[in-house]
Amino acid sequence: MTYQIYHKSTFYYQQLVTFSHNLARLKPRETPFQKLASWRLEVAPEAAMRECFDDYFGNAITHLLVREAHTALEVTAHSQVTIDSSALQAYYDTARAHPLSVAEALTRLGVNDPALIDIKQYLFPSVMVPGAGEAIRLFALESFISQRPLFEAAMELMERIFEEFTFESGFSDISTPVEEVFEARKGVCQDFAHLAIAALRALGFAARYVSGYIETTPPEGEEKLFGADASHAWFSLYIPDVGWVDFDPTNNLLPLEKHIVLGWGRDYADVAPLQGVVRSSGESSVGVMVDVRSLE
C-alpha cells in the first residue's frame, strides 16, 4: 500500500514575529513495515536555517529558524509512504499466537535484562501521563487477568475503550488530564491513547504513544475532499519476545495498512508535530490540515 500524505501545520500570531525557533516532527519514521519513498518540507516564510537531527526516541526532527517578519508560519510536509501490509499482518499473527501471560510478562519486565533497557524508558510516568489514579488502574485490571495471554488482554482493553468511551471533539484539549477523560468517558484519539498508556503503565507494562495518520474513506458514492483527514494517535505495548505491538482504541483496530506511523515517544509531548518559541507578547493559535491519499 502506498500513500501520499500532505500535512500542513500553521502557527498564527497576533503580532508580527521576526525571529522564531521551531521544531517540526513531520517526517514519517521508517519501520520494518513502513518505508519512506519521498519526503520534503515546505516552510513559509522560508527558514533561514534548517537543522535535521534524530531525537532520543529516533524520530527525525527539523529545527527551523525563521527570521523573516511574519504573522503566520506554515510548515507543510509532503510524504510518500509504502506499507508492507502482509509483513505487518504476519507480525500481528505472531503476536496473537504468543502465549505469554500477563503474569509472565510482568516477571520478565521486572528482571534487570540489558536487552530491555530501551524498553524500560516507557515504564515511567511522563509529562502528559504523570500517572493514573486507582480507578484507571482497576479499569485496566479487569482485562489483565494474570493467566491470560498479554496480547488478548490488550485487545480487550482497546475494545473496552472503544465501547465505553465516546469520540467527541471539543470536550478535551491536549492538556486535559487522563483522569478527567476517564471520568467523562469521552475524548479524542490522543486522550484514548494517553488513557491506555496510563493504565498499562499503572499495571507495570511499557507503553508508548504513536502519532501518525489513518486513511479515511468518504461515504459511498462521494468524492473524498482534499484535507478531510486529521492526524491520528494510538498506543503501543511492549510484549516480551515479540516486540512493540500497536493498538488503535479510537477505531478498535489493529493498525494495519490504513495506519501510517509518523513517530513515537512517551506521550504527545515527545512527538508534537510543530512547536515553537517566539518572543512576543501576543497569543498564538494553531491550524492543521491533513490529507491522506492511497495511490493504488
Binding site: 525557533h21 521544531l23 536555517m49 537543522e51 537531527f53 529558524l65 540489558p114 500517572g131
Partner: protein
C-alpha cells in the same frame, strides 16, 4: 573570669572542639585559647564587625515569599570550623575520587550506558529521575572531562568520620559565599590566624579560573565567558553577581542571549558577540524553552542546538543534574569498582532504594525512624523525616512509595557532630554541614581547602539550609606550616564596563530606568496638582475653577493613559476617588503605582550597578509608598503628603543613580529625555490645544507651569500675566530654557550620537532620524496663526504636537530594535 566555654555541652556523640573527656582537641587548642582570652564581649564586637562588613558588601541571599522581603543579610559566625590537615588529606582524596567517579558515570549515562547494560545501576534510577535530559543523550563529549565543577555536602557521623550527604553536580551554589566568608574572617578575626596555620584558598580559585579559561575552544583570542543567572530574584543572585566580577565573567540572563545557527550570542549594545563558555546557574531543564521545558523564561532557545554543535562549553553540561540522585547511593560502591577498580574512600549515609523489593519492605517497616527522600527533587516536597510525620502522613507516604517505589529512598537518620557557635546567650553547640567544592584541573580534580559550613538555627535542628535560617561558618584546614600568603591571580579584566559590551538586557533596563523614573516623578507631580485643585475647588468662582479642574483632570488621564478616566463626564463628579485610583491602584496600567512597579523591575535589573545606599533608598521608597497607598479612607491631605514624600525620595534615588552609573548612564539619560519629551507633549496637547475662556485659560496655564516646575521661570522671564503664546514659547520653543521641549530634543540628539552605531557614522541611524525630524519641525515652527482654533480645538497645533509625540515613540522603538533585540543581525 569564667571561661567562655563554661557550660558548653556537646549535645551529640561527637563534638568538633571537645573530645569525650571534654578536653579540647589538639587542632582546636590555639583557637580555643584565643577565643577564651578574647572573652564574650570582644567576641560579640567581632560578630558585629563581621555583620557590618557583610552588610556593606551587600552579601545577601533571597528567601522566597519572605515577609521581610528579598535580600536577607548573610550571617557568618566568628568561630571557624576547623579540620585537621591530616584528616583533610583523607577527605580530599575521597572527594577527588568521588568527583572522578561521577564524571565517568555522567559520560556513561549519556552515552554507552555500560552501567545499565552490565547491571551495575538499575535503569529505574536513571529513567525514573526527572534530571535525565533525553535531549542531551549522545551529546556529552566522553573524550574530555564533563563534570567541571563538583560540590558535596558532608557532615561528621557518630563514628567520627566525615560522611557524604549529597552530591551537587548541576550548578552548585555557595562558592561566592565561602570566598566572602574567608575575606570577612581575615579581616575581623586576624589574630586567630596567628594561632593556627590554615590552608589558603587562592590556589583553588586560580584553578577555577584556569578551568573556565581552558574550557573555551581555541576559536578566538578574546573568548567571551558568561555566567548565566536566573536573575535578581534568585535566592543566590548576590553570589552570581559576586562570582562573575570575581572571575571576570559577564553576568547574563537568558534574555541577554540569542541562539542562532547552532551558536549562542550575547546581545550587547555594540551588537551580537559569540559566547564561548558558560558557567551555568540555571537548572538543566530550564535552559532551553524550545527543547526542554517550554514554560521556562530563564533559558535561551537554541542552546541545545549549540550543545549538539559543540560550539559552546558549559560548566556543568546540561544533563548533569541526573547525578543529584539519592537512588545512586546504594550503587556507588559497585560503580567505583566498575570504573576504577577501587573501594569508595568516603562513607556515605546508609541508603535503601525502594526500587528493590527487599529494600522497599525494609523502608516501609521503618518509616517512622528513617528519612525518606525522593531520588530527584521534582516538584513539591522531596524529603520526609519519618519521626516527625503524623500517622496520616505516614500512610500517605506509604501509598506514594507503593505507587512508584523506584522514586524513593530511605536513609538512616544520623545525629551529626556539633560545633561551637556564638549564640544569643553565649557559646552553644550547633549541628553543621560542610559544602566542599572541587574543580576539574589538568590532573583530576582540585579540591578547595576550605568551604562553606552551614549551621542549624537551633540545637536540635536537623535540616541545615540557607532557606531555613541559621548561619554559616568559614572552614579552616589547620595544622601545617606550609601555609603561604593568599595569592590570587585576578582574572583578565572584564570588558563589561565598556559601552559596547553592556549586555542588551541591562542596557534595556537602564533605558527603562530612565523612562520610568522620569514618568514616576512627573506623574506624581501631576497628581499632586490635580489633588490640590480639587481640594481648593471653592476658592474662587466656582464655574471657572470647575472648568480648569476638569481640564487638569483630563490632562492627568492623558498623561497616564488611564482611559477612559476623566474623559468620561461621570468620573468628574468623583474626582477624588479617581485621582486616588490613578495614584495607588497598581492593577491599573499607567497608574503611578503601576509605573512604580515597572520602575522596581528596572531597578532590580540594574541593581548590581547601584550602590548600597541606592538600594536602601529604593527599598524604603517602595515600603513607604506601599504603606500610604494601602491606607483606607486617607484624606486628600495625607495623599498629597505621601506624594510629596515620594517625589523627594525619587529625587534622592535619581541623584544616586546619576552618581553611581558610569558607562550605562548614557542609556539612562536617553530614556529620561525621551520620557520627558513625551510627557511635555502629552501635557501640552491636553492643556494648550483647547480654546478656553480667558479666566479658565489663565488657571490652566498656571497649573501647566506649576506641574512643570516652571512658574517662577515664566514670571522671571516675561514679567507679565500668563499668555498662551508665552507659555508655548517657554515650554516648547525656547532652546535656552532647559525644561522646554526643543531643549530636550536637542539634548537627546547629542546623547544619541554617542551610541556605538552613531559614533563616526556618516548618516543618521533610524532612531536619530525621527528625533532629527521632530527637532526640525519644532524649530521651524513659528507664527501664531496655527494657534487658531477650529471649533474648540487648535487643530493644526495639536497635529504638530501629535507628530512630535509619534516621532519620539518611533525613536524609542528603533532603539529597541537596534540595541536590545538584535534579531536583524
Amino acid at each position: 573570669m569564667a571561661s567562655l566555654f563554661e557550660g558548653y555541652e556537646a549535645l551529640s556523640r561527637y563534638d568538633e572542639m571537645f573530645d569525650a573527656a571534654h578536653q579540647v582537641r589538639s587542632h582546636w587548642q590555639g583557637v580555643h585559647r584565643l577565643l577564651d582570652s578574647l572573652g564574650s564581649e570582644a567576641l560579640r564586637a567581632r560578630q558585629s564587625d563581621i555583620d557590618w562588613r557583610l552588610e556593606e558588601n551587600g552579601v545577601t541571599y533571597n528567601v522566597y515569599n519572605d515577609p521581610e522581603g528579598l535580600n536577607r543579610p548573610w550571617r557568618l559566625d566568628p568561630i571557624p570550623f576547623i579540620i585537621d590537615a591530616d584528616e583533610w588529606r583523607g577527605i580530599e582524596a575521597g572527594l577527588k575520587q568521588r568527583a572522578l567517579l561521577l564524571d565517568l558515570l555522567l559520560k556513561d549515562l549519556y552515552g554507552a550506558q555500560r552501567v545499565l547494560k552490565e547491571g551495575v545501576v538499575p535503569p529505574e534510577v536513571i529513567f525514573g529521575h526527572s534530571g535525565f535530559i533525553r535531549s542531551a543523550f549522545g551529546h556529552i563529549d566522553s573524550s574530555v572531562a564533563a563534570l567541571r565543577i563538583y560540590a558535596a555536602d558532608m557532615a561528621r557521623g557518630p563514628d567520627g568520620k566525615m560522611w557524604i550527604i549529597n552530591d551537587r553536580t548541576q550548578a552548585p551554589s555557595g562558592l561566592g559565599y565561602a570566598i566572602e566568608n574567608r575575606l570577612a574572617m581575615n579581616g575581623a578575626m586576624a589574630e586567630l590566624l596567628g594561632e593556627v596555620h590554615i590552608h589558603r584558598i587562592s590556589g583553588f580559585l586560580n584553578a577555577f579560573g584556569t578551568m573556565l579559561r581552558d574550557l573555551a575552544p581555541s576559536r578566538s583570542d578574546n573568548p567571551l565567558h558568561v555566567l548565566l543567572s536566573p536573575g535578581p530574584y534568585n535566592e543566590t543572585y548576590f553570589e552570581h553577581a559576586y562570582l562573575s566580577s570575581f572571575l571576570g565573567l559577564t553576568l547574563v540572563q537568558g534574555q541577554d542571549l540569542l541562539g542562532k545557527d547552532g551558536k549562542i550570542y550575547l546581545r550587547s549594545l555594540g551588537g551580537l558577540r559569540r559566547v564561548d563558555t558558560m558557567l551555568r546557574r540555571v537548572d538543566d531543564s530550564f535552559c532551553d524553552p524550545l527543547e526542554l521545558r517550554s514554560d521556562s523564561r530563564l533559558g535561551v532557545a537554541g542552546l541545545m542546538h549549540a550543545v549538539r554543535e559543540r560550539s559552546i562549553a558549559m560548566a556543568n553540561p546540561i544533563g548533569s543534574g541526573l547525578l543529584e540522585n539519592a537512588g545512586l547511593n546504594p550503587f556507588m560502591g559497585a560503580t567505583a569498582k566498575f570504573f576504577l577498580g577501587e573501594e569508595l574512600l568516603l562513607p556515605q549515609i546508609a541508603t535503601w532504594w525502594c526500587g528493590q523489593r527487599k529494600e522497599r519492605d525494609f523502608v516501609l517497616e521503618n518509616l517512622s525512624t528513617l528519612i525518606i527522600k525522593r531520588i530527584d527533587r521534582g516538584e513539591g516536597k522531596h524529603t520526609f523525616i519519618g519521626a516527625q510525620l503524623s500517622q496520616a502522613e505516614r500512610l500517605q507516604l506509604r501509598a506514594m512509595i507503593l505507587e512508584h517505589p523506584y522514586r524513593y529512598t530511605g536513609q538512616e537518620q544520623v545525629t551529626f557532630s556539633t560545633t561551637p557557635a556564638l549564640g544569643e546567650g553565649g557559646i552553644v553547640p550547633r549541628k553543621a554541614i560542610i559544602r566542599s567544592f572541587g574543580v576539574r584541573a589538568e590532573e583530576g580534580y582540585a579540591i578547595m581547602p576550605g568551604g562553606l559550613v552551614r549551621v542549624g538555627s537551633q540545637t536540635d535542628s536537623l535540616i541545615v539550609s540557607g532557606q531555613s535560617g541559621g548561619g554559616s561558618k568559614d572552614l579552616w584546614i589547620a595544622g601545617t606550616s606550609e601555609s603561604t600568603q593568599e595569592h590570587y591571580i585576578p582574572p583578565i579584566v572584564s570588558t563589561a564596563d565598556h559601552l559596547e559590551h553592556i549586555p542588551s538586557l541591562r542596557a534595556e533596563n537602564l533605558f527603562w530606568l530612565g523612562r520610568y523614573l522620569t514618568r514616576s516623578i512627573i506623574t506624581a507631580r501631576m497628581i499632586r496638582t490635580a489633588l490640590k485643585l480639587s481640594a481648593n475647588l471653592y476658592r474662587s468662582e466656582q464655574r471657572f475653577s470647575e472648568n480648569a479642574q476638569s481640564a487638569i483632570n483630563r490632562a492627568l488621564t492623558h498623561l497616564t493613559m488611564t482611559y477612559p478616566g476623566f474623559l468620561d463626564p461621570l468620573t468628574q463628579r468623583q474626582s477624588l476617588g479617581e485621582i486616588r485610583s490613578v495614584a495607588t491602584d497598581a492593577r491599573r496600567l499607567g497608574s503611578l503605582a503601576h509605573t512604580l512597579t515597572m520602575l522596581s523591575n528596572a531597578n532590580a535589573g540594574v541593581k548590581n550597578l547601584l550602590t548600597l545606599e541606592g538600594w536602601r533608598i529604593f527599598d524604603r521608597l517602595e515600603r513607604d509608598f506601599g504603606l500610604f497607598s494601602r491606607a483606607k479612607n486617607s484624606s486628600s491631605r495625607s495623599l498629597a503628603n505621601g506624594l510629596e514624600q515620594l517625589v523627594t525620595q525619587l529625587m534622592a534615588y535619581r541623584q544616586l543613580i546619576e552618581e553611581s552609573l558610569f558607562e550605562g548612564l548614557l542609556l539612562y539619560r536617553i530614556g529620561e529625555r525621551i520620557e520627558r519629551g513625551l510627557l511635555v507633549v502629552s501635557k501640552a496637547r491636553a492643556l494648550l490645544c483647547s480654546a478656553l475662556e480667558s479666566q479658565v485659560q489663565n488657571e490652566v496655564l498656571e497649573n501647566m507651569l506649576l506641574s512643570c516646575e516652571s512658574l517662577n521661570a515664566y514670571r522671571a522671564h516675561y514679567k507679565t500675566v500668563l499668555r498662551l503664546e508665552n507659555v508655548i514659547e517657554l515650554m516648547l520653543l525656547d532652546i535656552r530654557f532647559p525644561k522646554s521641549l526643543i531643549y530636550e530634543l536637542s539634548e537627546l540628539q547629542a546623547l544619541l550620537q554617542r551610541l556605538p552605531k552613531s559614533r563616526d557614522a556618516r548618516y543618521l541611524s533610524r532612531y536619530e532620524e525621527s528625533v532629527f525630524a521632530a527637532f526640525s519641525k519644532l524649530r521651524l515652527y513659528h507664527g501664531t496663526k496655527t494657534l487658531e482654533a477650529v471649533g474648540d480645538v487648535r487643530m493644526e497645533f495639536d497635529a504638530l504636537l501629535g507628530e512630535i509625540g509619534a516621532l519620539l515613540a518611533a525613536c524609542s522603538n528603533e532603539l529597541g530594535k537596534t540595541y536590545f533585540a538584535h534579531y536583524d543581525e
